[in-house]
């Protein structure tokens, strides 16, 4: 059976299309309370025509800026710590177990402590986002370095490579695919963390607050568009990252 890329793409759209159709029909015949399930056209119109809905653009930009900042801090620190415990066995024994233990605490459970320490300011949100990004980045970096083939490390020792060469010609390139995955997960986590922090901490602007306020005012159209935006950003980031990371690790064979 010839697998046309276009056909496959269309098939992927079938399920969402059925859903939207059902949504439209339900709205047309008023099967569900329209206050709960807002008609499609109203949801789509919200970010453009509704004065409250239009704040979504600013909210989105604020959230994205917040996410990038938190991601850079958390992801950067994560790679650093992951690198240290991945290359130094002393550091691994010193920090590793604590790291594993702390990692088990659901990131969300940090929120009450962070708000007590930093209030509901941007600082608390930033710390939370950084924390969300930190663990996956650190974990994957460590794993990537730990999985550098022993045979290659031995080769490097036999050739008496300098530490610099060892690092830049062996360790980093070899761990790069894993680090890249870590960055990918870290960015997604940062996004979820951003929305979660805004949602749970309130105060200020952001897509999470947009959602929370929509709920508080019982504006389901605003809630719906908020969730859709949230999903689209996540999905979009995923695609962009896939393309970007593929270039970063050109020697790795991609399975389709």
């Amino acid at each position: 059976m010839p697998e046309n890329k276009y056909d496959v793409f269309l098939r992927g759209l079938a399920f969402p299309a059925v859903l939207v159709l059902a949504w439209i029909l339900v709205g047309q015949f008023g099967l569900i309370d329209p206050r709960l399930l807002v008609p499609v056209q109203r949801v789509i119109a919200v970010p453009f025509f509704d004065p409250d809905g239009r704040t979504i653009w600013l909210s989105l930009v604020t959230s994205l800026v917040r996410m990038v900042a938190g991601f850079l801090i958390g992801g950067g620190l994560g790679i650093l710590i992951g690198f240290v415990i991945g290359t130094s066995s002393l550091a691994n024994r010193l920090i590793g177990p604590s790291f594993t233990a702390v990692r088990q605490i659901t990131v969300f459970a940090w929120i009450p402590l962070l708000t007590a320490w930093f209030g509901n300011s941007d600082g608390a949100k930033l710390v939370f986002i950084a924390l969300s990004a930190f663990f996956p980045a650190a974990l994957n970096t460590q794993q990537g370095l730990r999985d550098v083939p022993i045979a290659l490390i031995e080769t490097s020792h036999v050739m008496r490579l300098s530490w610099r060469t060892h690092l830049f010609r062996l360790l980093l390139p070899s761990a790069l695919p894993s680090i890249a995955i870590g960055i990918e997960i870290a960015l997604i986590s940062a996004w979820i963390g951003t929305v979660g922090a805004e949602y749970a901490m309130g105060f200020g602007r952001g897509i999470g607050i947009f959602l929370a306020e929509g709920r508080e005012q019982f504006r389901m159209d605003i809630v719906l568009i908020g969730v859709v935006t949230l999903a689209l950003v996540g999905y979009g980031m995923n695609i962009v990252l896939r393309c970007g990371l593929r270039r970063l690790v050109p020697w790795q064979r991609q399975n389709s």
């Binding site: 496959v8 098939r11 992927g12 759209l13 079938a14 399920f15 969402p16 709960l36 002393l90 024994r93 010193l94 920090i95 590793g96 177990p97 604590s98 594993t100 233990a101 702390v102 088990q104 605490i105 659901t106 990131v107 969300f108 459970a109 940090w110 929120i111 009450p112 402590l113 708000t115 007590a116 320490w117 997604i188 979820i192 929305v195 979660g196 949602y199 749970a200 959602l211 709920r215 389901m220 809630v223 969730v227 949230l230 999903a231 996540g234 999905y235 995923n238």
Partner: protein, 247 residues
């Protein structure tokens, strides 16, 4: 070896000093001893045990439902490329929306209560298990599949001798991921929209501005997460006794 203890102990020491010298207000950072006694209080009063019992029941039921659906759909998707093409993209898009995003709708549909918890936890488990099961099955080496054809294995043998064991490592990492997600989702729901469980206990601690309760909650959540992950690793090792042990 004492080495791993150095860091936690020095943090504890620094914490004790910080509170003793009042570098930070005790309302913001209660002393380790306060936290310890709060923990003892919460255990003896039954608050923690009760909350944990509720949380664990939720996670068991939700996980069972999510895993059952996830494995079935995952196996079906792994075996049928067409089904995967129809359902796969939607599923991966759904995976992008955190439980937090679903909360508003699910709350309206299922109300506040146990059903909501089960649904959210089941959803958190369902997605990673489905995706990993499908991928695990699809990635079974074609070598082995050919052997199965040549030996003309029956459907049952195909499933239990080839597909499930072959996909097991991937399925299992899906299950571990799922349980991690489920635990997170449950804590989130309990913290945001519930009136019982460990997560609620923490929110309550926040409301009362009693940070010691919050810290106790974090420790309990961390410990349970640790135990669950460790337990799953142990089960996986038992199930994979055939695999060579890595040095």
């Amino acid at each position: 070896m004492l080495l791993p203890l150095i860091l936690p102990l020095s943090v504890l020491l620094l914490w004790q000093i910080a509170t003793a010298r009042e570098w930070l207000a005790p309302q913001i950072l209660p002393s380790p001893l306060t936290v310890f006694w709060t923990f003892v209080d919460l255990v003896t009063s039954g608050d923690i045990v009760e909350g944990l019992a509720i949380s664990l029941r939720r996670i068991s039921v939700g996980f069972a439902i999510g895993a059952a659906f996830g494995l079935s759909l995952g196996i079906a998707m792994g075996r049928s490329a067409k089904l995967e093409q129809y359902v796969g993209p939607s599923l991966r898009a759904i995976a992008q929306v955190p439980s937090l995003g679903w909360l508003p709708f699910l709350m309206l549909i299922f109300g506040i209560g146990e059903t909501l918890n089960y649904v959210i936890i089941a959803k958190a488990c369902f997605v990673p298990i489905t995706i990993n099961t499908a991928a695990g099955i699809r990635n079974i080496p074609v070598h082995y599949v050919e052997v199965a054809h040549v030996l003309r294995l029956r459907r049952s043998a195909m499933l239990f001798r080839l597909i499930l064991p072959g996909a097991l490592p991937t399925i299992f990492s899906g299950i571990r991921l799922a349980l991690g997600h489920a635990w997170i989702a449950m804590v989130v729901v309990e913290m945001l929209a519930d009136t019982a469980g460990v997560g609620y206990m923490m929110t309550w601690g926040r409301t009362l501005f009693q940070i010691d309760i919050v810290i106790v909650g974090m420790v309990v959540i961390g410990a349970i997460g640790f135990l669950m992950d460790g337990g799953l690793r142990w089960i996986e090792r038992r199930l994979r006794r055939w695999a060579p042990v890595h040095a």
